[in-house]
């Protein structure tokens, strides 16, 4: 019961965040200079043509009215029409989003699955070589810009060593339609195509590492700090005084109370992850939302901008909602306080 209250609050909060995001982006997109209709039609179009398009798009109406139109479309799940591709933004995004989704999801899972054990090792062997190694890794990965790491990996693993593919999701010689979930890793398994799965993994490797290194470093660092903090708590000493064995103390009594900060940081890192995904996608020619989004912004394709931003926003909010649920499962204090507050 208390968990439902806690969850209900988080959902309401998420909706509020999305609403705020839509208002801000909507305003910014329209306030920056440049006429979308003119850009869409090109320099040769006549003033009448431009004006006609402005009217069909409703660009000459007051801002709040335009926003109302946008919202009513959104309520029906319609993101409108892109000026550039002349297609429904829904279709454009459905085409490009799965690739981004797969990349970002793999990155975050990998960063977490590797970051947490690294943090545990660092805490377990504090001030010894595993700790020093993890701390160095966290710092180096934090200060290395994503684009730099992406290019470095591409050159090293791709061209110098020539062991991994550096562009796209699959080789051109391997045609495969991910038409079930849109995720190659899952669809290839459903279709029983081990060869596609293996290639998808190989293609994912470099972009995932480039995108996830910094996040993994952060997660490791936070896990380490959190565990060391917990290890000094009275309840750990009490467990020791009552003869609870070392291994159980480390993995049950310490890890669980220490687990919330790494989870939370993962949710926060996720925002910069989406942003960096655009960079990584451009460098690795990843057929995701990035190139679509970049073009939408430079061309002031209003509906496409809103579409990309809102889909990213929903993605962000859903991941954070999931993390909130996990945090609530892991730590009853948050669940109970969250329901009371």
């Amino acid at each position: 019961m208390e968990f439902l209250v806690f969850l209900g609050r988080r959902v309401l909060w998420s909706l509020l965040v999305l609403f705020g995001l839509s208002v801000v982006i909507f305003t910014i997109a329209r306030v920056v200079p440049g006429d979308p209709a003119r850009m869409a039609l090109g320099p040769r179009a006549s003033a009448e043509q431009v004006q006609a398009l402005q009217e069909t798009l409703g660009l000459n109406r007051p801002l709040w009215e335009q926003y109302g139109l946008f919202l009513s479309g959104l309520a029906q799940g319609d993101l409108g029409r892109s000026l550039l591709t002349a297609q429904s933004v829904n279709v454009d995004i459905a085409r490009t989003f799965p690739a981004t989704f797969e990349l970002v999801l793999c990155t975050i899972v990998l960063a977490f699955v590797l970051g947490v054990p690294l943090g545990v090792a660092a805490a377990r062997w504090k001030d010894r070589w595993p700790d020093n190694l993890v701390r160095a890794l966290a710092i180096v990965s934090a200060v290395t810009p994503t684009f730099f790491l992406a290019l470095l990996l591409q050159i090293l693993a791709g061209y110098v060593l020539n062991i991994l593919p550096t562009t796209g999701r699959l080789p051109a010689s391997l045609p495969f339609q991910a038409d079930i979930t849109g995720l190659l890793l899952i669809d290839s398994l459903i279709r029983g195509r081990g060869d596609v799965f293996a290639e998808a993994v190989r293609h994912l490797l470099l972009p995932t590492i480039a995108l996830g290194a910094a996040t993994m470093g952060q997660i490791a660092r936070i896990t380490r700090a959190s565990l060391i903090d917990v290890s000094r708590q009275d309840y750990i000493e009490a467990a020791r005084a009552f003869g609870v064995p070392d291994r159980l103390r480390m993995f049950k009594y310490m890890l669980r109370p220490a687990f919330v900060p790494p989870l939370t940081i993962t949710g926060l890192e996720f925002a910069s992850l989406i942003g960096n995904a655009f960079v990584v996608e451009l460098i690795f020619s990843w057929p995701g939302m990035a190139s679509y989004g970049v073009r939408a912004i430079t061309q002031k394709d209003l509906n496409a901008i809103m579409g990309v931003v809102m889909v990213s926003g929903v993605f962000f909010v859903l991941v954070n909602l999931l993390i909130d649920v996990l945090v609530g499962v892991v730590d009853p204090r948050i669940r109970i306080r969250g329901a009371r507050a």
Binding site: Q233, D234, Y235, E237, A238, A239, R240, A241, F242, G243, V244, P245, L248, K252, Y253, R256, P257, V330, D331, P332, R333, I336, R337
Partner: protein
């Protein structure tokens, strides 16, 4: 009465950042079977270090036992094999932790925490008790520490319970494996005066009911007066005075003890 716990000439030092400082100097004290003994001293005098050394939970390093013996039922804890020592820790000798807010793991239920402790205590003692048997024992000790609704308390997370209830759980934790010696380090000092008085009364009653020996550690002499017949006074790592509690109260030999007595808050003295 035979002596259950006897500390003889115990010296302990800490080395931090290469600097060694001696924290306990030649400490000796004795706890007879079934007796209630107090160890008092101002904050920082070395009471907790004494307790941790006895329990074998001193962090080594930085700590180091420089010398002395700790006899429990005639065997030296400091030289016995680690296996035997583990068998005693938390079972025959166990302790009541001081701070009810920080001594329970916040993310596990009471049932879970007490269950884990009991499970490993049983294992060390070679006792055969299944999950259900452990649950029965947990509800039993929770009732013993006067919990009105043991079932509900067992299901609760620490955050759902008041400070007084959590302190009683810390006592229940210590009683789980039927100890012969209970060491209580400043029990209840984190609580308000009334609740603290109730906790001390409960502790005293439980000790008498079960015929346990109690080593009560406190900086508050008022606590000692109602609970313990014999008192050791510790100052800067040394036992400076000891004797029947009544005698110490009436004619303290040391200025240090006089100051401790003078510092007793009036209220706690009344309702122990």
């Amino acid at each position: 009465m035979s002596v259950l716990l006897s500390v003889e000439g115990l010296s302990v030092s800490f080395t931090t950042y290469g600097r060694r400082s001696q924290v306990l100097h030649d400490v000796s004290l004795a706890v007879p079977e079934g007796a209630q003994i107090a160890l008092v001293g101002e904050s920082g005098s070395g009471k907790s270090v004494t307790m941790k050394t006895i329990m074998g939970i001193l962090p080594v390093p930085p700590a180091k036992v420089e010398g002395g013996r700790i006899l429990f039922a005639g065997r030296d804890l400091l030289t016995m094999p680690e296996r035997d020592r583990l068998r005693l820790r938390g079972t025959a000798m166990s302790m009541v932790f001081q701070d009810p807010m920080s001594s329970l793991n916040p993310v596990f239920t009471i049932q879970d925490q007490l269950g884990t402790i009991l499970k490993y205590a049983d294992r060390r003692l070679g006792r055969d008790r299944d999950r259900r048997g452990r649950r029965v024992r947990i509800l039993e000790v929770l009732a013993q520490v006067r919990m009105r609704d043991p079932e509900r308390v067992a299901r609760s997370f620490p955050i759902m319970l008041s400070g007084g209830m959590r302190q009683r759980i810390l006592i229940a934790m210590a009683l789980l494996s039927e100890p012969r010696l209970l060491i209580a380090d400043e029990p209840g000092t984190a609580l308000d005066v009334t609740t603290q008085a109730q906790i001390l009364k409960l502790l005293k009653d439980l000790v008498t009911e079960n015929g346990l020996a109690l080593l009560m550690i406190t900086h508050n002499l008022g606590v000692v007066r109602q609970t313990c017949g014999y008192t050791y006074v510790m100052n800067r790592g040394r036992i400076v005075e000891h004797g029947a509690t009544q005698a110490i109260f009436e004619a303290p030999a040391e200025d240090y003890t006089r100051n401790l007595i003078a510092a007793v808050p009036r209220l706690t003295g009344r309702n122990g």
